[in-house]
């Protein structure tokens, strides 16, 4: 794996709250290669957003605490950097776009001011040059009338337009890695497709890597090269996108895929809810909602990520331990069990 751009090893992000310590991300590994798109998938509360924001330490500390064995970016450990050095990485080499475009822009500044700030943060451009660059960026992300839009305030733009502005801001210094946290979730379906296309386009133009966070497996199928499935702060399964979709191995991944409309005969839903992040149970985090749960699933730690047939596809499930027999899971490839039931309803979270 010499060509990884970002490597995250054993990332742990916790929040101190009045009720106790929330283990939002609890020992997660993932990596993003050059020019590659990696998707982190999981339901709400699985820790995927926190994991993505932990990369450049955007989490508020306190109450947050971030720790990792290593977070290497382009060969350097960015977690051993000073705050000042890390600021040189943020926005310049790693950019973020966020879930909610309504809240991600400062309401009292013009769109142009906010892009100019991003431009001048990492360049010596004069005000006029930075403004020209802002107009150019707005044009690039497909905002109509960039010359006038640059002087508009966020409340004068629609949600999709705001998201374009945020993408323009993220592109200001032509970063190597774009971390996109559910950038389409808060938008209309028609706009979603446009924004997704835009991200794909600029990825090709700029030769960027993308770490894409989503709960939407349809989006994953469209854009991902590799997939990381997260559940309750842990990685359940990861691998090549084809491998994941054709051969989902973890019961959780199977159940997730089963929730996709048009997959299988009936749409399924996963019963139960996430375990408490305050006091995670022993063993596999998914055990309580799993149809194939055995005694050993509830003991010790989350199972290690076992290799599947010597490939990159790895699964954190006792059924795939060396010498174990995974056939009980395969016998029910659709994931239609007693707990994962099908009633034709929509997944309700």
């Amino acid at each position: 794996m010499a060509d990884e751009l970002l490597e995250v090893e054993n990332l742990r992000t916790q929040f101190d709250t009045d009720e106790g310590t929330v283990h939002a991300v609890d020992g997660v590994d993932f990596s993003v290669g050059r020019d590659e798109t990696v998707c982190i998938v999981g339901e709400s509360g699985s820790g995927k957003t926190v994991a993505s924001e932990s990369v450049t330490k955007l989490i508020r500390m306190p109450p947050g605490r971030i720790d990792a064995d290593a977070v290497r970016f382009d060969g350097t450990d960015i977690y051993s950097m000073s705050e000042k050095q890390l600021r040189q990485v943020r926005g310049r080499r790693i950019s973020n776009i966020f879930q909610n475009p309504q809240g991600a822009l400062n309401p009292v500044y013009t769109v142009g001011w906010q892009i100019v700030e991003a431009v001048q943060m990492h360049s010596e451009k004069s005000d006029r040059e930075a403004r020209e660059r802002a107009v150019e960026l707005l044009d690039r992300v497909g905002l109509p009338n960039p010359g006038t839009a640059v002087d508009e305030y966020p409340h004068e733009l629609s949600g999709g337009q705001k998201q374009r502005v945020i993408i323009a801001m993220a592109l200001a210094s032509e970063p190597d890695l774009l971390i996109a946290d559910e950038p389409t979730t808060a938008l209309d379906v028609t706009i979603q497709a446009q924004i997704l296309d835009l991200i794909r386009e600029i990825q090709e133009d700029y030769g960027m890597s993308v770490l894409f966070i989503t709960h939407d497996l349809g989006v994953v199928a469209e854009i991902a090269d590799r997939v990381v499935v997260m559940y309750a702060g842990k990685v359940m399964e990861k691998g090549d996108v084809y491998s994941i979709f054709e051969n989902p191995s973890h019961p959780y991944t199977k159940a997730l895929l089963n929730c996709l409309p048009g997959h299988g005969d009936l749409m399924g839903r996963i019963g139960g809810s996430l375990p408490s992040p305050l006091d995670p149970p022993d063993g596999c985090r998914f055990a309580d909602r799993c149809d194939y749960v055995r005694e050993e699933c509830r003991q010790g730690e989350q199972p290690p990520l076992h290799e599947l047939d010597g490939t990159d596809h790895r699964v954190s499930c006792v059924y795939y331990a060396p010498g174990a027999d995974p056939s009980p899971l395969q016998g029910d490839a659709d994931g239609q069990g007693s707990n994962v039931y099908s009633d034709g309803g929509y997944p309700d979270e």
Binding site: E53, T56, L58, R60, E83, R87, Q88, V89, R90, G91, R92, S95, N96, F98, N100, G103, A104, L105, N106, P107, V108, Y109, T110, Q114, E117, A118, M121, H122, Y153, H155, I166, M169, A170, A172
Partner: protein
């Protein structure tokens, strides 16, 4: 509507509001018994030959209160708006406007530094507290804020005077108005009143700016700013302070009003500063109606124009407030 029309409209409204206030003041005065007329009547009753009623009539004629209400009102309004505010009854025949103009600089002498200091100190401590919520600094600031809030100005002033004026003798106990303005002596005698007022003003501003800033501390756009590589100092000054400044303006204006109308009175009396506050205080004691009326109107003017400034600053600071919706 353009910004200019908006400002013009607000200005017109301000003039109208002033007009109403001055008119109501006139009606209240016209309805209340005139102390001077009674005084004349009392004196006349002691001299044989003139009846009390005749004396009263003579006094009314002298004061002009025997004319029809409408004529009196017109004359009063013209006088008020041409700053012809009459003669002070207690100040040896001085013009009311003259007395106010003489007192005003002394009020400015301590209130200008007080305002500047308390805004700078209050807002910066508040912002720091908000971004470091529940830290030791935040707790200390909160304690100081409640201390400053709870302590009455005049009492704090007296205590400081006793300690630093009487016991230690570091500062004069009686304010010397004839000391040159830009001198060490002036600084020495201003230090205590400024400390007293800054303590009171800062605490309020500190709490308000902390509360306003807390609204934005967890805002998503701060994450955007941080992701751009913006330093935490710049995040506080540009991304938190700027949106928080909008509601803070309101508090600032009302705080300043409080300073002029209430605090100045107490502090000037305690420190014997011959400013507006003490002028008002003495005018009330001596029942100097024209002077009381005028000093009250000065407060009203400050309030009305303060509100005008606030309205304008609101629209300048917050682009989401449109001119049209505030007609």
């Amino acid at each position: 509507m353009s910004f200019k029309t908006y400002v013009a409209q607000r200005l017109l409204w301000t003039v109208f509001a002033t007009f109403i206030i001055v008119s109501i003041t006139f009606l209240l005065l016209a309805a209340s018994p005139n102390a001077q007329v009674s005084q004349f009547a009392f004196e006349a009753a002691q001299n044989p030959g003139t009846s009390a009623e005749e004396a009263r009539e003579a006094a009314r004629q002298r004061l002009g209160t025997n004319q029809p209400l409408w004529e009196r009102y017109t004359e009063y309004m013209i006088n008020m708006f041409t700053l012809n505010w009459g003669y002070s009854q207690s100040g040896g025949g001085q013009l009311v406007t003259e007395r106010i103009l003489n007192a005003l600089p002394y009020t400015a002498l301590y209130s200008v530094p007080t305002t500047i200091l308390s805004v700078i100190i209050g807002v910066s401590i508040g912002l720091y507290s908000a971004t470091n919520q529940y830290s030791r600094f935040d707790y200390a600031a909160t304690f100081f804020a409640f201390f400053g809030y709870a302590i009455p100005n005049f009492w704090f002033g007296i205590i400081l005077l006793v300690i630093f004026g009487a016991w230690l003798g570091w500062v004069p106990i009686i304010f010397q108005p004839d000391v040159p303005w830009l001198s060490f002596e002036m600084l020495k005698q201003l230090i205590l009143p400024v400390i007293v007022l800054v303590t009171a003003q800062t605490t309020g501003l500190m709490r308000y700016s902390r509360a306003e800033a807390l609204e934005y501390v967890e805002a998503e756009f701060l994450k955007t700013a941080k992701a751009k590589g913006v330093s935490s100092y710049r995040v506080i000054t540009r991304h938190i302070f700027r949106p928080a400044a909008v509601p803070l303006m309101t508090i600032l204006i009302s705080d300043l009003l409080g300073l002029f109308i209430a605090s100045s009175l107490l502090v000037e009396v305690v420190f014997s500063i011959p400013g507006l506050g003490r002028l008002t205080f003495n005018a009330i004691l001596q029942q100097d109606t024209p002077l009381v009326l005028s000093t009250t109107l000065v407060g009203v003017m400050i309030a009305v124009f303060g509100n005008l400034l606030q309205d304008i600053s609101y629209t300048v600071l917050d682009p989401r407030i449109s001119y049209d919706s505030r007609e």
